[in-house]
C-alpha cells in the first residue's frame, strides 16, 4: 500500500508539513530580531539575530511573573483535577449503582458548557469573595474546565484493568481505598499522566475566562500576549513571540512524553490507539 502512495500524496504531505512548521519557525525568529525589521514595510525572510530586544523586553515587562502565574495555576488545577477525578473515575469504572450512567453523562456534558456563558456569573462570584485577579481563582476555573476530561480519560484506563487482581487483593482483606491506592492507581498511571498532560495543555491555553479573572496581578502567558501594545510601538511582536515559545516548549516536552496515548486522551477514551 505504501508504494501506492503516489508522488501526489507525498507532495501533499510535504506541503502541509511546510505550512505547519514554517510559520512557527518564522515566528520564532521574530523573538530574536531587532525591532526595525519587524515594522519594515516588506517582510524580511533572512533575519539578523540580536539578543538586544530580549534584554529590553525582559526589563520592561514582568515576564517571569507571567511564566510563574501560568505554571502555578496550571499545576494547581491539575492537582485539584486528579484529587477529585481519580476517586470519581474509580467509582464510575468499578462499581454498579443506581444513577451511575447519569452521573457519568452529567460529568461529560459539563465539557460542552460555553465558557462565555459562565463568564459573568464567575466574575461576580469571584468579585464577591475577593478572589478576582488571583491565581487561586484561575486554578479553580481551570480545574472545572478539565475535570470532565480527566475523569473520563482515567475511567477509560481503569475499565481495562482486569478484575482478578482486585478480587485477589480483596480476598486478602484489603480495603477498597487501599486497593485504589496500591493497585489501581499504579496500574493506570499512563492514563493518569495522559489526563494530567492534556489538562495542562487546555489550562495553559485558556483565554476567555482568564481574560475576565486576570486583571493585572494574575496575568498568565496566554493573556499577557494581548497586552503587548505599547502606545507608539504598536503591537510588540518580539515580546509576543518570546512568550509564545516560553509556553510552547514545556507543553511540547509533556506531549512528546505521552504521544502514544494522545489520541485516546483527546477523545476521552473513545479511541484506543
Amino acid at each position: 500500500m505504501k508504494s501506492k502512495r503516489s508522488i501526489v500524496g507525498t507532495i501533499i504531505l510535504l506541503c502541509w508539513a511546510t505550512v505547519s512548521v514554517w510559520p512557527i519557525w518564522y515566528f520564532a525568529t521574530i523573538a530574536l530580531r531587532p525591532r526595525v525589521e519587524i515594522i519594515a514595510p516588506d517582510p524580511i525572510y533572512w533575519p539578523t539575530f540580536t539578543m538586544e530586544t530580549w534584554a529590553k523586553i525582559w526589563d520592561e515587562w514582568p515576564m517571569m511573573k507571567y511564566f510563574f502565574n501560568s505554571i502555578a495555576s496550571v499545576a494547581g488545577s491539575v492537582f485539584i483535577c486528579l484529587l477529585l477525578g481519580i476517586p470519581a473515575a474509580y467509582s464510575l469504572a468499578r462499581y454498579r449503582y443506581k444513577g451511575r450512567e447519569d452521573i457519568g453523562n452529567y460529568i461529560l456534558s459539563t465539557k460542552m458548557m460555553a465558557p462565555v456563558v459562565v463568564a459573568i456569573p464567575l466574575y461576580v462570584l469571584f468579585a464577591q469573595v475577593r478572589m478576582l485577579d488571583t491565581i487561586w481563582a484561575l486554578m479553580l476555573v481551570y480545574a472545572a474546565i478539565n475535570l470532565s476530561i480527566v475523569v473520563w480519560i482515567i475511567r477509560s484506563y481503569m475499565i481495562d484493568i482486569p478484575h482478578e487482581i482486585e478480587d485477589a487483593a480483596r480476598t486478602d482483606g484489603a480495603s477498597d481505598l487501599r486497593i485504589l491506592w496500591e493497585i489501581i492507581i499504579p496500574m493506570c498511571l499512563p492514563g493518569i499522566i495522559t489526563a494530567a498532560v492534556i489538562a495542562s495543555v487546555f489550562a495553559m491555553n485558556e483565554y476567555l475566562l482568564t481574560l475576565i479573572i486576570g486583571r493585572k496581578e494574575a496575568y498568565t502567558m496566554s493573556i499577557a500576549l494581548a497586552n503587548f501594545k505599547g502606545g507608539s510601538d504598536g503591537i510588540i511582536y518580539n515580546a509576543i513571540a518570546l512568550i509564545a515559545f516560553m509556553a510552547f516548549f514545556p507543553i511540547l516536552l509533556l506531549v512528546i512524553l505521552i504521544q502514544n496515548n494522545l489520541s485516546r486522551g483527546l477523545t476521552m477514551g473513545a479511541v484506543k490507539g
Partner: protein
C-alpha cells in the same frame, strides 16, 4: 460460605456504608462541577431579569423581548453556524486526507509530531502569528506577489469574505491536527487483514478506503467532530484579537457578541439573557450528543 472467607470489607462495613461508598467517591467531583455549572446557570437566569449597570433594576422580560428584535444577535448566531460549519468541514477533509496518506506509513510518528506542532501553541499566540502573516507583516501578500498571483498588498480586513477567510484559516491551521491525530489512531486500530482481503479481491486503494476503512471509522469520526464542533462554536480568541467582528460584524460570533455586550456596555442583564438562550441550546445538544455517541467503552 463461612464468615472467614468473606472479603474483609463485607465483614467490616454495614450494608448501607457499602452501598454509599461509590457515591461518596464520585460526590466531590460532582459537587464541584455543579457549583461551577449549576450556579452560573441559575445566576444567569436571575440576572437576565434585571437591567442596570452596577445597581440592579428589575426589568422583567424586557431583556428577552429585546433579543427577538436584535439584528446583531441573529447576525452573530448565523456567523457562528456559518463560519463553524465551513471550518469544521475543511478541518475534517484535510485531517482525513492526511490521515489516509500516513496511517500505514513507517514514518507516521514523525509526521504526527510535525503536524501536531501548531496545536501545542497557545491559541492567543497562534492568532498573533496569523495576524502578523496576513495584515501586520504583509507576509502572505508578499508571498502571493512573488509567485505572481497579485500585484498589490491585500487588506485582509477590508471585505467580509477575506476577514472570514483569515478567521477560518487560523482555526484550520491550529486544529486540523486534533482531528488528524484521532483519525490516524482510528485507522491504525483497524484490522489490517480486512483491508488486505479487499485488496486481494482487486479493490483499488481508494475504493478500499471508502468502502471498508471509512465506514468502520464512523463512531470515532462522530466523537471527534463533536469535540471539535463544541470548540468551534465557542470560537472567541481569533475574533477578539484579529477582527473584532469587523468588517461590519461579518465575523462576529455569539461568544464574542455576548462578551462585547457584557463588558462594553457594560450590560450584564442583556448579556445574561443571551447567555441563557445559549445555555438552553447547549444543554439540549449535550444531552442528545453525550447519550448517543459516548456510549463506547462503558463497562456492562
Amino acid at each position: 460460605m463461612t464468615a472467614a472467607t468473606l472479603p474483609a470489607t463485607v465483614r467490616r462495613r454495614s450494608p448501607l456504608a457499602r452501598k454509599m461508598f461509590p457515591y461518596l467517591l464520585v460526590a466531590p467531583a460532582v459537587i464541584y462541577l455543579l457549583s461551577i455549572t449549576l450556579y452560573p446557570g441559575i445566576y444567569a437566569v436571575y440576572r437576565s431579569f434585571y437591567g442596570g449597570k452596577f445597581k440592579l433594576e428589575w426589568a422583567g422580560l424586557a431583556n428577552y423581548s429585546q433579543l427577538f428584535t436584535d439584528y446583531e444577535f441573529f447576525n452573530a448566531l448565523w456567523n457562528t453556524a456559518y463560519l463553524g460549519a465551513i471550518t469544521l468541514l475543511v478541518e475534517f477533509f484535510l485531517a482525513m486526507l492526511l490521515a489516509a496518506l500516513v496511517y500505514r506509513d513507517p514514518w507516521v510518528k514523525g509526521f504526527r509530531i510535525i503536524f501536531l506542532l501548531p496545536m501545542l501553541l497557545m491559541p492567543s499566540a497562534v492568532t498573533f502569528i496569523w495576524k502578523l502573516m496576513f495584515n501586520d507583516g504583509r507576509i502572505i501578500s508578499d508571498l502571493l506577489k512573488r509567485i505572481g498571483l497579485i500585484d498589490f498588498n491585500i487588506d485582509w480586513m477590508f471585505t467580509p469574505a477575506l476577514a472570514r477567510l483569515v478567521v477560518i484559516f487560523t482555526d484550520v491551521w491550529q486544529w486540523t491536527p486534533f482531528l488528524f491525530i484521532i483519525f490516524v489512531a482510528g485507522l491504525q486500530g483497524q484490522d489490517k487483514e480486512v483491508e488486505e482481503a479487499a485488496r486481494l479481491d482487486g479493490a483499488s486503494w481508494w475504493s478500499t478506503f471508502f468502502n471498508v476503512s471509512l465506514p468502520m471509522m464512523r463512531p470515532i469520526i462522530a466523537v471527534a467532530l463533536i469535540l471539535r464542533g463544541i470548540d468551534i462554536l465557542n470560537m472567541f480568541t481569533p475574533i477578539q484579537l484579529i477582527t473584532h467582528g469587523a468588517p461590519g460584524g461579518a465575523t462576529e460570533t455569539v461568544s464574542y457578541y455576548i462578551n462585547r455586550v457584557a463588558w462594553d456596555g457594560p450590560d450584564f442583564g442583556y448579556a445574561s439573557a443571551i447567555s441563557v438562550v445559549v445555555l438552553v441550546i447547549t444543554v439540549v445538544l449535550a444531552q442528545v450528543l453525550v447519550r448517543r455517541y459516548f456510549k463506547s467503552g462503558t463497562e456492562s
